[in-house]
Symmetry: C2
Amino acid sequence: MINTILESISSPRDIKKLPADQLERLCAEIRSFLVDTVSVTGGHLASNLGTVELTVALHKVFDLPQDKIIWDVGHQSYTHKILTGRREAFHTLRQKGGISGFPRPSESEYDAFIGGHSSTSISAAIGLCAANRLKGRDDHVIAVIGDGAFTGGMAYEALNNAGKNIDNLIVILNYNEMSISKNVGGFARYLAARRSNPNYLKMKERVEKLLDHTPLIGRHLKETLQTSKSAIKNLLYHSTFFEDFGFIYLGPIDGHNLPELITTLEDAKRRKKPVLVHVDTVKGKGYSFAEENPGAFHGISKFDVDTGLPNAIQEECYSQVAGRVLTEMAETDSRICAVTAAMKYGTGLQDFAHAYRDRFYDVGIAEQHAMTFCAGLAASGLVPVFAVYSSFLQRAFDQIIHDAAIEPQHVVLAVDRAGIVGEDGETHQGIFDVSFLSMVPGIVIDSPCGFWELELCLRRAVKQESGVVAVRYPRGTENTAIPWPEKEYPYFRFGEGADALIVTYGRLSEEAYFARRTLAEAGISVDFLKITRLVPVADEIYEICKQYQHVLFYEEGIRNGGLGQLLLNGLYERGFDGKFQLHAIDGFVPHGKIYELLADLELDRAAMIRDVKMLQ
Amino acid sequence: MINTILESISSPRDIKKLPADQLERLCAEIRSFLVDTVSVTGGHLASNLGTVELTVALHKVFDLPQDKIIWDVGHQSYTHKILTGRREAFHTLRQKGGISGFPRPSESEYDAFIGGHSSTSISAAIGLCAANRLKGRDDHVIAVIGDGAFTGGMAYEALNNAGKNIDNLIVILNYNEMSISKNVGGFARYLAARRSNPNYLKMKERVEKLLDHTPLIGRHLKETLQTSKSAIKNLLYHSTFFEDFGFIYLGPIDGHNLPELITTLEDAKRRKKPVLVHVDTVKGKGYSFAEENPGAFHGISKFDVDTGLPNAIQEECYSQVAGRVLTEMAETDSRICAVTAAMKYGTGLQDFAHAYRDRFYDVGIAEQHAMTFCAGLAASGLVPVFAVYSSFLQRAFDQIIHDAAIEPQHVVLAVDRAGIVGEDGETHQGIFDVSFLSMVPGIVIDSPCGFWELELCLRRAVKQESGVVAVRYPRGTENTAIPWPEKEYPYFRFGEGADALIVTYGRLSEEAYFARRTLAEAGISVDFLKITRLVPVADEIYEICKQYQHVLFYEEGIRNGGLGQLLLNGLYERGFDGKFQLHAIDGFVPHGKIYELLADLELDRAAMIRDVKMLQ
């Protein structure tokens, strides 16, 4: 029995048949469905509530899967997923084995390209458009990209390649004045000015007509045109940023007005040039708690629909500790600056930003710039701390090497979300940072476990180290049940004299601690070496390992280039004659809960216990 | 005895004393000096000839080292070096132990920031400006950046962060319509239109006055202004790309007119807001051969000053072979597209570009976009080949993982300049690619040695492989004296039954071949395993290594994360009980000739011979 319009939609074709009033009702039903589902599964809510009408209008006007929609960042694609055959599976969102929170071509033919990281959509769309042209197809490719993602340089590189020889490209600027927190920078101000002039285009036309039909000015105008050719024309016609890049500019239009959206998209579809449609949307639209506080409802855990409050008490997390420590240090050390790429809240810097406004820099989703900007600050004797998620730091790989390491600049990388991040899946797992950072000559890499140790490492990184120093820490909270011996650095050993030694770092230290305790209870003795400073490897670490017949090494990161291979290299050169087991990650890690994934990867305490028992 | 004005300049302070006519003479002398020196040392010529007056004017107007100049890319900093105490050392340019071809703070206090890779200067300059502000200093920071470098997204990320809270930032847009080859994209067209209107700004003022003083229009204008507030103002004042980002825009001015340059820079210096000065220059200015063919004189080897012809016969290089093979393949395979990030000639794609214009894409200095654009092409069933220098591919690290590898897209990376590149030094050495690529799940990495093998690998990469496939090859030419056994893939062994085995890949295979021959002549037997496919490692490679007491592995790349550690890991797991020597690179590699550097790194045939003899 079908009770709702939403339930009648089994493919996007069904949307095309609906009359206008039913489309409006469909949008309302989708909103309820989104709020109800995400309140149970957790996920991205505000951005999806903001793009309900836009998504319905896109499916009304375009024919998927021949036409393609590429969702930049991708976490705003829930409505699209619900409308393209994934409504019934939607309750499995972000759960292990369930559907992804991001567009995944492997999941559906309606997902044209992967999403996850920011500012990639126009580049991919141009690729699809170029292919269409070569194949003689006239399908449309639509990139949906927020103004936040437009602060990433890749979007601009793509714009620069879109104006010429590309047909049937439509870029939807989803303008909501937010990335996750409030947007920053000159471009944001530029767009804001435009938003405040809804009749901008009409006004342009009026000025133009005014000039045309005014006898006096007409004469002068002709003179001016004769001396300067296209300059006036430029002034009148080419006055938007996007037109400078060869786009037809349509908008701004109300992103919650379905008829206006449909009319404008149909207009865009008819043009034979790249079109940019500027759509104003409200993050969290239609769910008051999310509208009032879109930041809190950006990515959210389970919550109560009626109160908008989270169902679980939020535990203090590593990000908050990092923010607190940096804020404390900044009080007495005026050299410290904090830099974020649009992740002020995510990286726990809100208090720093409030207390030391002059020394806080949110540069937008611009990791490349952030890194070189930090190198510039450091070149002047300041100590910048770039707080950034591990998987996003991949964007600044070249800048770390080129701008900060060759001529060493003292830049501290506070690498948040290092290791498995859980429900966001492949695109966001922080499994590469140890590998890509450890190849950088001269770098120091710390991987604390526990809040006290994060503090220790951050203070050392700022006060005692030089050059590029990375302090990497996991998503989530510490296990307070472990009596870590404080102030041990760069490593600490639990036990001495067993035949086997577990070696690990970061979050897995907790797993090793409990594995060792459980084994001890079963009468099996194993020692445990917790490494805090990964690179450079302390010589003593090799000496300790050499005392054992079996070294069992666990790494919450990719195998190739990781600490394990580096340790093995060093041990081998030092004539280690025991057995070295290297447990690490050998491929991309899908979405699921962190500890489910660690178990699947055989990196949790259960795996360690099994491995040690195998030695008996 | 001082014969010239140039010889009287021992520091930039000396420039300030010179009257106008002597400044002009100084420029002429610098040009002669540049041509004479670079004709002997080799180096970047055209870009330096284009910036002589600009550099002299900058030193005339600003006070270094308090004020800072950051040279984007940095290869146009020769005049600056000559004027800042390095004239007498200039004949050592790019020679081992001599001065660098790029700005290096470790070389001079006048070099404010490292240069080498493109589009970094504004980010670094903003860092220096922000530091000045925090310190209460009002020194100026000048970023000199070409329109080519402006095609890189980082420059835009920086612009977006420059408009607010940054004082005393001056960005010089050095407009010469070139990066190395002709510039591309919407932004280039935009600038070209501006260049064609030298009176653009004056005209703007005239239109403005016209409107102000025209009674009829004045009335209408007021009405319009009342309904739309700042839109007209926007139209008149905020009509340049740079003004949208909060810059004061000055120019375009003639970059070879010293008085105009000095006046404009003094004007820029007085402003208390970020200023962009648009300077038109001619690459190769003043040396007719370079003016006529700036591409050929971009980076050049020794040449004859009188004829402009190179002193050595240009040997065929790997880049040309790659270009030829791809062009041949494209004839019968319409799926093949070639993509370059402003390196059409450098990567040997000029014939492809000519023959298959529709399938050739020069995207500007935009490696991030290039990679994701390729993934988009591949998602549509085409086979894009992204030809890119190893050290520049570092820019696309995140895009390789995120856009091409997670949902595998068949993208071929033709990684040129892999390994030591020589005279360009630290910033350009291609020593990281094996490490940062080998951690990408699912990737295939080939490292051919010899033109025949490059062809074999490229054909395999396009026709037989899937997912991301990297074919990496060195700068320069092959040694034709080696009778390689053709069509052996993915490895080949020379000799069988010795106690020791040399293992290597890529260019070092030539070294190993000759080392083995020399050793044989001395009666010392050693076998040699040449690896072509590095990743995934063929099981047989492990089996072969296990037959030896000594495996001597040589890697023209960074140790951490390289093939050596990966092989050692695999051998260790397979119970290898011989000795494995891992010879690789442990830090940044300075400038010098390729074989000088390989000798210093103990990776050449002489080192191999020594290492084998040590085993006797």
